[in-house]
Symmetry: C2
């Protein structure tokens, strides 16, 4: 059994906990939180919650620690620090700082003889694997990534900061015509506006100026001004009833030619009822991978690009040959 | 530059040759044939064609040999034999004999200190990778594979053996309703007939009994009797004009739950203008992989399950982190 620890128990931490139950070769041994452990009620019976700063004493009791913090402030500090004591897996997704994060984790993990897997999940993660393989097998072509339909936490938060807004959910939605054009192999040039649209469900204070709020949202730089945005004002009850889930998904499509006029289209897509549960499932598979790589003597920072399918599979190689190849 | 040899110059050999041109880190150094080399005209200028049995003298001139024979009689002999002298890649696809082929290639390659990659292409190959990864990240679910729309060589050949038939092409086509049901996450049980249908284009001798031929095709065991089959009689000209290309494709879909009622659907699909050119492109990417694994000291039989994305990518790891992750 691979002994797993969860560091941070928000939506993603709960997703990881759920995923561990579906994997017979893993067991959850401890959950760590910066909150008061007594305030936390976890799903798994018989597993304790500990204060985050006690974690070093678990050095010999945990094979892989899955770090479920946020990319902005948590992971840049936590992953390099915890890689000094544990094999770790995180879902760092701030694209602009990946190289820096890689270097920091690599240094700690190498010195400790541990494996630190960063930027795992579905994007970065599964989408990255697919982009890399598609581009290797079809070097002459173009790759397109579309996200959604799904909730964007960052965009939902941005709407909540508008004066008069009580709560909000924002869906990122791929533009169907753009998807179809890419799938047809037309290799189109697509602007930001042509690729995705944004749909907002907004709850406002009584008597708030809806026209002003809608205008502020639609013209918000970086977040909305480059997109076609639809703003729907709804009640708090409606928001809770119809928009409290965390669906997501997306598409990676590569189209290209192997010779003049001979086209090929490769497509990978995800349709997810729960972003954190699916992401958690991926982190758990790469925890298995981290454990195996470390067991065969590897150390340092790794990404999904470093793992062969057999490294993350729960199935024996001979069975993979018989039933999966 | 990775020096590539092509062993066997049929449709797939030509596909490999085409693919090498799209990869800047590779060069074609020789083509080997069992036919008279002088009868063969290849695309690449300045590259010679040699008689197959002279190949051992190229031991130090070729880094990876891509073997483009058939799975029934060629590859079971050629791949283990040639792995004694070269890193090799093949596209062996006879499912029932994969384990045996693996053992044979493994023995030769290990003894010679070479890497032998078997069963590369899109199925087995890309579809296998996707099945393995999907099942690792979503262990509780069902995987479905659909093929087509595309020409099946085996089924086309079977029709040609019917008395009175001059030529034929058979398209395997996924049943749209089945695809939609799988995509919806319904997790359906599907019979052979419910998954694929077969569409045949048949040229017959003048005065042939079309009703008898249609009946014989539709009731042919193993090939057609378990499917809904449509038989279209056309002229030789029409066959040549409309059905002389080699398109193919297919879908791998996994649907499953991470917790009660929380569903996820993962889909990988290919739409290919030319089956041999696309397959050739994949063989070339895994030739790069074979070269790299061997360069770092590995030997023995490998499959797509053994290669991490970075092993087959033409792009530097630091660039992958920056632009592909």
């Amino acid at each position: 059994m691979i002994r797993i620890g969860i560091f941070g128990y928000g939506n993603l931490g709960r997703g990881v906990e759920t995923a561990i139950k579906k994997n017979d070769d893993m067991e959850l041994v401890a959950v760590f939180t910066r909150r008061n452990p007594e305030d936390l009620k976890i799903e798994t019976k018989g597993v304790n919650v500990y204060q985050a700063d006690t974690i070093k004493s678990f050095k010999d009791k945990i094979d892989v620690l899955i770090i479920c913090g946020g990319s902005r402030t948590d992971l840049p500090v936590q992953t390099p620090e915890l890689a000094k004591y544990f094999n770790v897996v995180d879902s760092f997704d701030t694209h602009a700082h990946v190289s820096e994060h890689f270097q920091n984790v690599d240094k700690s993990a190498r010195e400790a003889g541990k494996v630190g897997v960063i930027s795992t999940g579905w994007d970065p993660g599964m989408f990255s694997i697919n982009r890399a393989i598609m581009e290797s097998i079809l070097p002459n072509g173009s790759t397109y990534t579309f996200w959604g339909k799904g909730i964007s936490q960052g965009h939902s938060d941005a709407i909540r900061r508008v004066e008069g807004v009580l709560d909000a959910r924002q869906y990122t939605i791929p533009v169907e015509e753009a998807l179809e054009s890419v799938r047809s192999g037309e290799n189109p040039y697509l602007t930001t506006r042509q690729k995705h649209k944004r749909e907002c469900y907004v709850v406002v204070k009584e008597g708030a100026d809806k026209a002003r709020i809608e205008n502020e949202i639609k013209n918000m730089p970086d977040y909305f001004s480059d997109y076609d945005t639809v703003v729907n004002f709804i009640s708090a009850e409606e928001l809770k009833k119809n928009h409290s889930k965390m669906p997501h998904g997306g598409f990676v499509i590569r189209s290209g030619e192997t010779s003049e006029g001979v086209k090929h289209v490769i497509e990978y897509s995800l349709k997810l009822d729960s972003n954190p549960e699916f992401t958690g499932s991926i982190l758990v598979a790469y925890a298995r991978g981290a454990y195996r790589l470390n067991a065969r003597g590897e150390a340092g920072c790794k990404t999904v690009f470093d793992f062969a399918p057999r490294d993350i599979s729960p199935v024996d190689y001979s069975e993979l040959l018989k039933h999966t190849l």
